[in-house]
Each structure stands twice: as C-alpha cells, then as structure tokens.
Symmetry: C2
C-alpha cells in the first residue's frame, strides 16, 4: 500500500463514524467526541439508525445516506490537500462529495457487511476499531477474512481491526477513543498495542512530547508497519519514526522499508516477545541459535534502526530525538554541580560506548578563566556545589563552542544553594540557541520538580538519572554517525540454479528432505563453492580405488539418509594414508555405524580429498518466520557450540555486511592472525557468505542449512613452519587461500 | 571503630555547632536551623565568639565555655539511652554534662585547633563539615593528618571532613546542611558524595521512602563504610543498608563486614568509578583483566551484597526493599490490564533471570471463574482493557494465595475506562494485607499521577516501566534466595611458608622482583603444588644430561631475569626427544633469544619433564589497591587472551567459592567433559585455587602472579585412545588426576 493510499486515512475531507452512540461511555460516542473536540475541520457524519443527532451533529441511518448527504450538498471534492500552503488544510474548510474515511465501532459480526456498504458508497478508507477478529481464534479469523475481502473488493485502505484508531495532528484528526490528544510535534508512532498507545499519550501529555501521527495498528489486516514507514519516510511532518512491534507482517519488506526510512530520519523500535523460532526443537546449530533476541537485534540494526532494549529506553529515545535532534558528531561533554553523579555519568559513557569529548586547549583556558579554582575544567566539568545559574550558562556556552563536542549532559543536584529554577532557565535558553543536543538530569524528587517543568516546557528532555541520558545520546550518536553510510547491494554471483532446483526436486520425490553426504556438496558446488574431490564408495575395495585416484591422505565419512551428526556415530575418519588404511577405515566406519544405528541404512562411505592447513568456520542459515532467511557465522567447534560466539544477518547481504559478520565475533582475532599465525583468507569467507545468502534467497524452501566446517586457508601463499617437518608440501596445502565446504547439511520444505 | 563508638554520633545528648552563623546562607546557620527544626530534644549549643544568640539559642565563645555551661547546669549525664523504652529517648529530655557531639563548620585551617579544643573539653564525637582537606591536594592532606592526630589523641569519633553531616531519625537529629529531613523509616544510607545525599533526600521526599540513618562520609578520615556496616547490622532501626561508594578504605575488612551484614539485612551498593588497576600498564593477564568493573562486581557479590548497575537501579532497589521487604520464594506473577506491556514484562523477566511463577491448577480455576472469558488466566494474567478496580482486587487476592508466587508486578495502562485511582487503592489495600512483595507500574504520565500518589502514600513502590520493577524484584529474589547460605571458611593448607619467605628475601637482595623460570616453581612447590621435575642447564651437553636423567620427551625453556613472555622470543620448545634433539634445541633457543634480546642475559635453559594428556588452565592473582588480592581463573590460551572468559574472587576463598569460580566460566563444559572427552580433575583445580589463595594472603608483597599453564589431568585413571598409537603409556600420563604448575611468574613489592 503506497503513501498515497494513506492520505484518506490521515487527511480525509469527511469522516463517518459508524456505530456513533449517544451513551458517553461507549466507544462510538468517545470517537465522535474526540473528532469534534480535536478540531477536525471537515465533515463529521455520525451513522446510527436509532438517533437523529449526537453531540449536535446530524445522524444518518446508513453509510449510503451519509454519503448522499455530501453529494447533495455539493461541497467541493476530494481529500484535503497536503500542506500546499505550508500549513495543512487550515487555510480553508475541506469538503468532499464522498466519504473519505469511515471509522467503524460496531460488534464484529456486523463489520463485514458494513464494510461492503462503505465500499458501495464510495468510502476510500476505513478504520475498524471493533475487536473480535483474528485475536479471538478461528471464528474471528474467518470474520477477518470476510472483512479484508470486502476491503479489497472496493480498493479501500484499512486500519485495524481491533485497534484504538489514529491521530493526525496536521489535519486535527483524532479518530481514536483515547483519553487525550497529544500536542503537535514531529514524532510519528505506530503501535501494535492499543494499551501502549494510551500509555504513550498519557506520558507525552506530561512530558510535552509532540506527535504528528499516532497509529494503533491492531491486527494489521490492512495497513501495516511497512506501509506506514513508506508513507512517513517522505512525510515532512514526521521527523522521528517510532514503532512498538510484536510481529512484522513481511520481514523482508519491513527491512527494506526500514533501510529507506533511516536514510531520512531516525527510526526507533521497541520489540516485544522473543520469536518462537528459538523455542522449537531444531537439529541445526543455526536453528537453535537464531530466533533469539540477539538475532532479531542484529537484523534490525542492519537497517540502521535504533532498537530500544525496553520501554524506558524507547520513551527516552523518542523524547530526546524529538526535542533535541541528532548529534552531528561524536563526543559528549558532561557538566555537573556534583562530583559523584559526574563520575557515574562518565562510567555510563564508558558502558554505553559514548566517547567523552576531549576539549580543545582554548576551551580549557576559557573554563579556567571563568570557573573557581577548585572546579573541574576537564570533562566532566565540575562547576562545584555552589554553582549558580550564571555559572551553568557560562560553562555551557564555552563548551558548546568546542568543535569536539557533539552533545552535552547537564547534571544538577539540588544542593544547599542551588538555584534550581534559574539553572533550568539557563539550560533552556542555552539549548534554544544551540544546535548541539542537550540532555538534562535534575537529580532528585520534590524540590527539583519546578525546574523539570521549566525544562519540559522549554523543549529540553530531563532524565531522572544520568545513565539514561547517556544511553539515549549514545544510541542517537551511533545512528547519526552511520545514517549517511551507503547500503551496499548484495553481489550477484553466477550460479547453476537449475542444478540445485533439480537436486531439490529429486529429494522431494525421494521424500528425503534432509540433504547430507555428497549430494548436498553438489548444491554448494552449483553455487560456486569449492568442495573437496570425492566419491561414494560401497565396498572397501572401491574406497581404496577412489582414494588412490584422489591421492592420499583422504577423509572418509558415513553416508546415510537422515544422518546429520556423523561424528556421534563414529562415522568420520581423517588422515587416512594408504590403500590398506582406507580398506580398514571402511570396515571400521561400517561396524561403528551398525553398532550405533542398527536399523538405519548405510548408503555408502564417502571418500574425499583432505584439505589441510586450514581453520574451520561455520556458516549457517535458518528461516525466521518473520524476518526470513537468517545467516549465521562463527568459528567451528566449541566457539559455536559452547561459547555461542556467532553473528547474524538477514539475507540477502552485501559484501560489507558479510565482512562485518566476520569481524564482529569475539574470537575474530583467531582468524585475523593472533598468536603469530598468518591471517585466514577472510575474502574467501566473505565470498562464501555472499553465495550462501544468494542460495537461501533463491530457494525459500531451504528451512535450514549448516556448512560445518567451511575450511579456510591462510590468506597468502607460503609454507607453514610445521610442513618442514612433514617433508614438503602436500596437495591441497596453503597455496593462496580459498575456502572449502568440507561437510554440510540442508533441510528443505516438503 | 565499634558500633558503640558510633553512639555519640547518632544519639548525642548535646550538640555543639562550632562556626554557628547568623547569616541564613551560611552552612553554620543552616546546620543550626536543621538541628532545631528537626526536633532534636537534647541541648544545642552554638559556638561563635561574635554572637550572643542565634535562632534564639545562647551562643558560647568557645567549645570549652559551651561545655562548662552544661556542667554548671548539672542536667543529668550521658548519651541518650537507645530505645530502652522502645521509642528512643522520646520519653524524657536527654541531657549531658559534657558535649557529646560537635559539628564543625569553620575554614579548614582552623579545624585542627578546634578539634584540640573539643578534645580538651571532653567532646566525644566530631563531625567536620568543612572542606579543604585531602580532596584539595598536598597541603590539605597535611591538614587532615593534623586533624586525625588530634581526634586520635582524644579518642573521639570523627565523621568527615568534607561532608554534609548526618541524620538520625530516631534521635530527631538533623546534623546536616541539607535542604530537608527525610521521613523516618528503615533505610540506612552511607554516601561518599554529599551531592548524591541531597539528591536522595529530595527523591525520598517525593517517593516517601523513609530513612533511619543518613550519613555523608566525606573524606572518611574517621568513620568509614566498614564502621557503619558494623554498627548498622545489629541496629534494629535499620532494615535496609544502602551505600554509595567511590573507594573502600580497607577492602578486606569491608568484605568481611559486608558478609556479616547480608546475613541480617539487604545491603545495596552503588559503586562509582572503575578502579585504576585496569588502567595501569600491567604485564600479567590477571593484572590487565582485574580491576575492571567485572572483578569488582564479583568481589561484592561474594558477600551477597546487591550491586546496583547504576543510580536508577540503586534508587529502585532501595525503594522496593524498604517498602515491600523481601520475596520469600522464587516466581513472579504479572497482572496487567494490557497485553503489550505484559509481554514486555515477561521479556524483562527472562532477561533478568526472574522465573515467572507457574500457577497451581486451583489458582487457574479460580481466575477462570472470576475473569471474563477472553482474559489471560495464566501468567501473565491479562485482566483486559476494561478491568475495573474490583477485578484487580479479586485477581490479586487469588494470585497471592498461590504458593508458587513469590512476588507480584501489577501493570496498569490508563485505557478509556480504567479507574486509575480506584485501582491504586485496591493495590495498596491488597499489599497492606499481604506479605508478598508487590511492585506497581502505572504506565503513563499525566492521568496516572493521582494513582501514583496513592501508591506512594500507601507504601507500594511505583515504577514507571515494567522492566525496572522486574529488575529490582530479580535482585531482591536473588538475595533472598541466598541470604541464609553459610559462608564456608577457607581451607588451611600445610605449606612451607619459610621457604617462600627465603626465596622472596633473596629476590629482593638480588633486586630482581620478577620471579620466573625454575625459581618461581620452588615457590609453588613450597605451597604444595606439583611441578614437573627439571633443572637449569648452562650448556647443550648439560641439557642433554639433565634430559636423559628426567626421561624423554622434555620441555626446554629460556630463563633470563625479567623475561616474562618466553614464547614471544622463541624461548620454548616442547616434545624434545633424544639427546641430539636436546642439544640442537639448546642452540636454537639460545640463538633465538640472542636475536630477540641482544642486550639481555640468558641465565640458562630449563630442561623439564613433559606432562602430557592434560588440559591447560590459568590461575592468576593481582592485588587490587582497594579490595586486596584478587584471584582469577580461566582456561588457557585464547580463552583468556581473546575471549576474556575468566572468573574473579577476592582471596581468601573457601573451596565452594573456588568451585564456583571454575563452573561459572562460559567454557566450563570443556573441563567437565563435553564432546566425548573425560572430565578434567576439577578437584585438583579447586585445590590449586585454594593454595594460591593462601599464598597471596600469606604474602601481601605478591603484586601479581600467573600460573600459566596449570596442566590438569583427567579425573580418573585410564588410557586415552591416542596413546595406543604412541605405544604404551609414557611417564606422567593419565594416572588418576592431579594438576601441575608447568610455568608461572610472580612479581613482588620491593
């Protein structure tokens, strides 16, 4: 649904309230009252067959009758024009000869028919407040399907059902049953929880944070988060986008829209509910590690959106971003009238990764000139307990002029001689004249209240504790620092897609959806991965012959349908040198397999080239039900299994993102060449991640996938010290990097 | 300083204010006014040679004159009796024939002489408000030394200097220059920041949190945190101890007192400023990892104290502990009138490690019977958006009766029909009649304010966001669950302390304070550690002879004064088999050493028994300037260097603590036998940690120490698979566990 389709929702010329009620406690009454009280200038048309007037407005028995009344009035046409004069539609009274928006507050069972009525009467958009749909179970789900069918039939926009409604400050439209209307401002909020909407409205009434759009999305049968992002990213009334989300409707689209949004304005997300993916039993490493909050967070951060860790951070971020804008550079200055809180704020900076600004010499000299000798003139700047408002004013002016300062935290402790209100005024005046974001912390309770009120009215957010100010500034500084970074495009590799399609088709025919052994290596080979040479042997003699052809030493692995963890059944031998050893190895694996899995079929034993001189990494993918194919990267063995030292992204990813996945694991220095080792061929891993990204994007039927291990050579040609002992280079040894899929598994949908 | 010595500070019969002033803005005036206004019933004696009366009180020219006035009045004697009648000294007017407490607010330079006057006049305790001492530099430090000398000479108790003073609710004593006096209550607070005190006072004035003791410790030249802990742990007016600390004066004593305190009541700490230890250049792993916040946190948690991560958590914990007490069991129930916030609260529980209670069937049936059908009757309990106060009341009653519920979080979102005040009343009434802690979250701003006020007055803490309620409950539940655990005593090992003393003495004589090579192994041997057999060789031939005597293979290591990281200079060879190889090895190490360190002296090359079949761990110690000897444990190599997967405790530690250190590292399962390996001999590591703890406790001159690696055998006897290949068992192989110090280094003080 494009931005244009949202216009009748936010800027209608006329609004019908279907289910308008005379009883003040009914939702259908509150909505009508809110519409009227909010100052909406278009036509308001209550629809209620049993009333003649409600709240002084003429009632209509049906939507059709209401629509006719507009037509017969012949009062101009169309949706409000958007701010052609820079001030919304305030210049004239908008009218419409059809109903732009119908707000429906009727029992659920009646809604589909009313929607049909709306469609026939030419209504362009509907908000369904009513609950009793998908959220109540199977019957509600059917009702919701009827509802959306009717909406689609008439090409209407739909918000809801099961929502609180929406508010648009610019059109003075309060189409909700909330208690209050927020002040106008730059924040656009979407929420999947109506109750959270009411909490935010009440919070903003106290904090005086202003909103331009306010949308309770309810069941999201029509408009969803991606639609709103698309509309809001170019909406000049919106400076900050905030979202409370429980699920996203289309993860891939959401991530795309989020990326486009963050290039224009900050997008702050509060996500509730860890996904179910982590909980479901999973046979793969990736599956069991993905779906966690960590993975979700990684996916969202891929878009440069700011993910709030909890409700408090969400409110704080919205407050700060809306009222003080973005820092233009790194470096925070702390100004305080109390040492202890100054240390706590500095501690918080370190924890939050927000670098303290180091002042220029000039700044320090200027501070020294105006402050008492015992004051702290470095950062944190300690103005001392006897600081009056003027000392704050002077110090703020000096500090804000320093080109190393990107933001300022002002801490005020109500000490014996502290002028709380005067200091608040000084801070407000400073912040009003400066484009450097200021966050205030008045530390206390009763006595500071008057100061806090001055800050609120003056547009300076006050945080009760320094850590909160610091955390919010850190997040906005992070965002400001990368908002202009270009998002690379995923690289497109030339691959043999048809071959993979054929392998999957065959697997489906065979009813074996778990691919392993040599078969799965063919998939990766088709996507341009290097795999060790190898063949499946069915007898010891055949194995010896294959090995002789490949060259010793070789690796031998049991192959059996459904066998996923070969080492657990004694199904892997490495470093097998000589024909006799291969024959012995064949017998050994076969015996061990039979002992561990007496009822399973051993298809044969794969004999493979042994790739030496490598480090093992794991690349995996699992399909998140909301976000799509999630890629995982980590070092092999204990690093994934025990230390869970892995990184995540949602496919498709660009090379830069693949590289970031590799560098951000804690154990990265093991790859980059710690402890005297040569660095591994990182480029080869980047390439492998890119190809894997393309594979899971091309084939949505891939449920999960593990390349374990991917064997990675050292970066440059050369001979390792250890090889001297072994007597010369062996085939497959370090010769200019590269990576091999030594083993893999893959599960597809039926 | 014992609890008894604190009595004249908190329960004086008479108080002199030295430096009392007529000018209302002067500290000396405010203190006098606070004393008077606070309702103190003993004598108040302003001392000021230039005034006759201040605030209606007769002034005295000197402390001596003031003291004489008491004597001549002959008004009874002594310090107030502590609550002999259960109500403090409120029964009668306390009097004293000497001055119990003098509060001094004079310029710093005058203070030492005035202290002397106080001592001569028989004053028992002094509070020095004045600043200008240690905190200002060298001269101030000298002045402070004079001050403390005078205090000691006259055996007085001292609080300060450079402090805000103290408050004792029971004696109605407000001996501070703060703006306000807190309500009486169970919290005793000590703070190293005066400004933080004023913030807390102001905060408590709004939140209505009550205090029994309130102490600004200033420079802690006299009374420090350990003294206060000792006094407060048996003080029945104190139910919660809270501390804001920047440094502790005596770490070991502090940890001891903290342990004793937490057996009686919760002790909540806010620590500011990471210690300097981490910042100073350190040549050891332990040194560079200790001194971090992590290490400090581990040390404090060893005492069962609750460490607040920041100021907000500190306030929240104090609020909850003071007003709702401790949960008696695990399991939190969430009650909400809004789904979204309910999910966020459940998410927060998972993050904070607070287990949601699972209700008994009876509870679920009772909830089903009283709630609407669409309500959520499992945990979280969703009362629905239309819940009135009665529904909250009924649900709370049912839930609190469930024996799986240890605490309750109530979330209230101000929806269209929410009865905010009625719901607040219902919660207060419920909490008043129940011993299960209740934390409320009224989610909003303006409309909820009246409800929040009802909660405050009713003793139910309100948290603006659910995550904060959950975090605080999680911390108190953690504490409640372990407060009755016994602290084990450290085991005392029989060791050869004299030998270590001689080695250290010799090292000091030689001026080589960094011990390595074979010399340091003697230290550990003297403390009962196993070390590989070995000798120092000075020629290739000598090395070959030593090796032949030990048996092959051997390990060879360069030994040089000051050489700490042998591998960096090619100074270590392992697995050297045969006399020829040993001779070659000697030449190789010597050449490499010369190439890397042309100016250093090679003392010789150590030839050692090679201990095989082991896993490598690291045990280290570094002396934290505040807390004392800190022990560190981790796996060898990358686990410490790159993954920083280590645990910390402050020595001395008991075996149970040593075991906890081992199990709490992330990579513990590598020791306990993951991936088909046998478990390592954990008991041997516990033993090694215990002996190391004793070593660093016995010898405070040990600045830092690394056992790297400690080689740990498998737990039980047995033959590893790999050994078959090598042809039978080699000496030193797996024979029933044990641990060897293969290499170590140790630095002592001059």
């Amino acid at each position: 649904m494009g931005g244009g389709r949202l216009t009748p929702l936010f800027f209608p010329g006329s609004v019908a309230v279907v289910g308008a009620s005379r009883e003040p406690n009914k939702v259908g009454h509150v909505i009508l009252a809110n519409l009227k009280d909010g100052g909406f200038r278009g036509s308001i048309l209550p629809v209620n067959p049993h009333a003649r007037r409600i709240l002084g407005l003429k009632c209509y028995p049906t939507v059709a009758a209401a629509a006719r009344s507009l037509g017969s009035n012949g009062k101009g046409s169309g949706v409000q024009s958007r701010r052609s004069d820079g001030s919304g539609a305030a210049g004239g009274t908008p009218h419409s000869d059809r109903i732009d928006l119908a707000v429906i507050a009727l029992p659920a069972a009646l809604v589909p028919d009313v929607i049909e009525d709306c469609g026939r009467a030419g209504v362009r958009a509907v908000i369904v407040i009513s609950s009793g749909f998908r959220e109540t179970g199977k019957e509600g789900m059917l009702l919701e399907k009827k509802l959306t069918a009717a909406v689609r039939r008439h090409s209407m926009a739909l918000l809801g059902p099961n929502c609180l409604g929406l508010i648009c400050s610019e059109s003075h439209l309060n189409a909700t049953f909330a208690r209050s209307m927020p002040a106008p401002g730059g924040v656009a909020l979407m929420s999947q929880s109506g109750a959270l909407c009411t909490s935010i409205l009440d919070w903003s009434a106290r904090e005086l944070v202003g909103f331009s759009r306010f949308v309770s999305m309810g069941n999201k049968a029509g408009v969803d988060e991606s639609d709103l992002l698309r509309g809001w990213r170019t909406d000049r009334d919106v400076t900050v986008v905030a979202a409370y989300l429980e699920q996203v409707s289309d993860g891939q689209r959401f991530l795309r829209e989020a990326r486009l949004t963050t290039r224009k304005k900050p997008f702050i997300i509060l996500k509730a509910g860890v996904t179910d993916a982590g909980a479901r039993a999973s046979s793969s490493h990736t599956g069991s590690l993905a779906g966690s909050e960590k993975a979700y967070r990684a996916a969202v951060l891929q878009t440069n959106a700011i993910m709030a860790a909890n409700m408090e951070e969400f409110f704080d971020l919205v407050n700060l971003a809306a009222r003080q804008g973005l820092p233009r550079r790194q470096g925070v200055a702390i100004v305080t009238n109390a040492g202890g809180p100054g240390i706590l704020a500095a501690d918080a900076c370190e924890k939050a990764g927000l670098a303290p600004a180091s002042f220029f010499g000039k700044t320090i000299n200027r501070l020294r000139a105006v402050l008492p000798s015992a004051a702290g003139i470095y950062n944190p700047v300690d103005l001392m307990g006897d600081a009056g408002a003027d000392r704050f004013r002077e110090a703020l002016g000096i500090i804000a002029a320093d080109r190393n300062v990107g933001s300022i935290v002002v801490l005020v402790s109500p000490q014996a001689v502290t002028d709380i209100e005067g200091t608040a005024v000084a801070i407000v005046e400073h912040a009003g004249a400066s484009d450097i974001p200021v966050a205030a912390c008045f530390l206390g309770g009763r006595d500071i209240e008057a100061g806090v009120e001055i800050l609120r009215r003056g547009g300076v957010p006050d945080f009760p504790f320094p850590e909160r100010a610091v955390k919010s500034l850190a997040a906005l500084t992070w965002y400001a620092g990368r908002r202009h970074d270009k998002f690379d495009k995923p690289r497109s590799y030339r691959v043999n897609r048809g071959k993979v399609r054929r392998i999957f088709d065959r697997a489906r025919r065979d009813g074996d959806l778990k691919l392993g052994g040599l078969q799965v290596l063919e998939v990766f080979q088709a996507y341009g991965f290097k795999v060790p040479r190898g063949l499946l042997a069915h007898t010891p003699e055949e194995a010896a012959a294959i090995a002789a052809d490949i060259g010793f030493p070789v690796v031998m692995k049991a192959v059996s349908p459904g066998l996923l963890h070969k080492t657990d059944v004694g199904g892997v031998l490495t470093d097998i040198d000589g024909a006799a050893a291969v024959r012995r190895g064949y017998e050994e694996i076969a015996a061990s397999f039979k002992a561990h899995m007496p009822d399973a079929l051993l298809s044969g034993i794969a004999v493979q080239e042994q790739v030496d001189g490598t480090r093992e990494v794991i690349i995996g993918s699992a399909r998140d039900p909301q976000l799509g194919p999630m890629l995982m990267f980590g070092l092999g063995g204990i690093y994934v299994e025990i230390l869970k030292d892995v990184s995540f992204r949602i496919a498709p990813i660009a090379p830069a993102e693949a590289r970031a996945m590799i560098t951000e694991i804690r154990s990265f220095s093991l790859l980059s060449g710690s402890r005297g080792e040569r660095p591994a061929d990182i480029d080869a891993i980047v390439d492998a991640l890119g190809r894997c990204s393309q594979l899971v994007t091309d084939f949505p039927e891939i449920v999960e996938l593990d390349i374990n291990p991917l064997l990675v050579k050292e970066k440059r040609s050369g001979v390792k010290r250890g090889d001297v002992k072994g007597g010369g280079l062996r085939r497959g040894d370090v010769k200019g990097g590269g990576a091999w899929v030594a083993d893999a598994r893959l599960v597809i949908n039926p």
